[in-house]
Symmetry: C2
Subunit: 378 residues, 2 copies
């Protein structure tokens, strides 16, 4: 017998309602029956995205939705500003490069949030910038960016603001319309508590001007096709039928709790996790911008970070993430996002303490769990 705890920043654990929905016999997608399901999904996504506009559903992982943003907004030789403070920010630059788009890189130290003021300066300095590509929560560093402030500086410029909210949407606040986010991208396997396989993309009227002008070649990810189909409550290509059926179960759960309550729950779990890390003497990777969906902490120098992650997973069934790229073995990343509540957080901290003890790290056993308990008791 082994219970598994999945505390990774995507995929996140699946609620029983999702497991049940995923196991239903399939139905055909060109039927009134599926049309009703798709309609419900599209409406529910508007609530989660906090937008009055369409949210298109793609059969792809989040990266496919990011590619959709790039090819629909820009043509080769266009200029974009890519905020790059981690592995997923880098993906915007790679995508631009693949499509011959001139990507100006705004390099941000890993562990820090981007300065909206810096974005403002770059936009003022180069009126050719058509799109600003940002990240809500940079999963590789645990950092959350201040999208509201970024929206304020981009809003009255020529540029369109695109936010990769693959990590974070549905778990931390992101007001697509109110914060002037022209395009918000997400995926199914994080805050939305589904298996991977769905990409989501919202679009403002300002974005549509660029979409209609873009000359980048596109077909599967062509949002003009998606929009035309959506007008008839349809998809241009075969949708990921049972993921959309399961999405509706998630949307019901989210509406029942309400976004505000969900955001508060994530904040509390993050506060507890951060308190635990401090109590264990593990420094947060980001001093002042640690997100409420994933906590990155530095691995003590005397501890082998990769072995720590592996032991927690293989000996105890608690899966957390290690560091990626330049952070390999230097940090651990523990997610508290989606279908996760306080006792999952406690289990994660308890397992971390157990393995740290076995690996010879010096600390007072129980201090991490105690610190988290204190937050939850507040």
């Amino acid at each position: 017998m082994r219970k598994n705890y999945l505390l990774t920043p995507g995929p996140t654990p699946l609620p029983p309602q999702v497991l049940e929905a995923m196991s239903r016999p399939i139905i055909h997608h060109r039927t009134p029956q599926f049309q009703a399901i798709l309609k419900e999904a599209m409406e529910g996504l508007k609530y989660v995205f906090q937008t009055a506009g369409d949210v298109f559903i793609l059969a792809s992982s989040g990266t496919g939705a990011m590619e959709a943003a790039v090819v629909n907004l820009l043509s080769s030789h266009d200029t974009a500003l890519c905020v790059q403070g981690g592995k997923f920010g880098e993906r915007w630059g790679e995508l631009c490069k693949a499509y011959g788009i001139s990507a100006q890189i705004l390099d941000v130290a890993w562990g820090s949030a981007v300065s909206p003021e810096e974005i403002k300066k770059r936009l003022a300095a180069d009126p050719k910038i058509k799109v600003v590509f940002t990240t809500l929560c940079e999963t590789s560093t645990g950092v959350v960016n201040d999208i509201e402030a970024i929206g304020r500086v981009v809003k009255d410029t020529q540029a369109v603001l695109v936010v990769d909210a693959i990590s974070g949407l549905g778990a931390i606040d992101l007001k697509t319309d109110a914060w002037a986010c022209d395009m918000v991208i997400s995926g199914s396997q994080k805050g939305l508590m589904l298996p991977p396989g769905l990409g989501f993309i919202s679009s403002s009227p300002k974005a549509w001007k660029l979409i209609e002008a873009s000359k980048s070649p596109r077909y599967y990810f062509d949002l003009r096709k998606a929009k035309k189909a959506a007008e008839k409550t349809d998809t241009p290509f075969t949708p990921a039928i049972n993921l959309i059926i399961a999405l509706n179960e998630v949307l019901k759960m989210i509406k029942l709790d309400g976004l505000e309550k969900i955001f508060v729950r994530h904040k509390k779990m993050a506060d507890a996790m951060r308190a635990a890390m401090k109590a264990l003497g593990l420094e947060l990777f980001s001093a002042d911008a640690s997100s409420d969906v994933v906590t990155a902490a530095k691995v003590p120098v005397e501890i082998d970070g990769e072995k720590l992650v592996k032991t927690m997973r293989d000996a105890y069934g608690v899966t957390i993430a290690g560091g990626q790229a330049e952070l390999k073995s230097k940090v651990i990343r523990i997610a508290h996002m989606g279908f996760i509540e306080e006792f999952d957080v406690i289990a994660g901290i308890s397992c971390l303490e157990k393995v740290l003890t076995q690996m010879g790290y010096k600390f007072t056993l129980g201090q991490g769990v105690k610190a988290a308990d204190e937050v939850f008791l507040k």
Copy 2:
């Protein structure tokens, strides 16, 4: 209480093993546990594709895999030959157009198979043709093309042969290597008995020469990235984890029966369906190239084809497909592919007879089922 019968050419019914696998708690994809699953899937796909080469798994529907073929093999201004005998053949032409590729259209009358001799002539006439795009089973017309013969004429030319086998793979014979198919595309929701959401793509060494030379912009569908990742039993982007887990269940079922036996089963179901159509006086849409995975038959002029399909589905729970595009309301298409066996075929025919009777069509009730029974008893 209502039992539903899904006799559509994608999605096809899901076996209980798939439903069970889809409902398992999710695991993380960057773990040795998932790596073992991915390895098993990649090996199993080689058996189904009848290839010694890699089969890449994409998180997309089949059209995404078709786009991957186009962008990886060709650059803008290159020339391709697109065999077009139905809605899905047309998709090759549309994809080429989207990417600035000069598509020569080989128009085939809907309901007929393409003549390999004609492909040979076109290739001889234009040595600029780099790729021949074909379709194994054209779902919109029910026609199966003779890929073996096409492979013979393309093999010793400059051109690469691409086969859209989204409909048919795993149900009718397609020997990727032996028939010299340089690239075979498929999807999860037809012969492979899974929900939609996975695209598959094989590639020969001849195809790789074009892949390495292609200048088309690409990222999510870049097969160079897929290959690099596959070498480490990985995927470049988050895979559709639980679809791949379910795929392994299907691959086990397919191996247990063996491809040969599966092809024989599909042939028998198709023979039964064709016999039933004839017995009911419904002319096959294709006189000589009706596939073993989906049967298209003409709707008698006095019968409203759309109403027929709708009544079967909404009154009796038997979902078949109507005609698409120019065939709208003129044909019905009944699939017998994947997790379908003889009594599903009988149920489909029985329901068709029932509704035809109610709609006033003149025929001897029971003749269709009888004709099918006779085939199955052989």
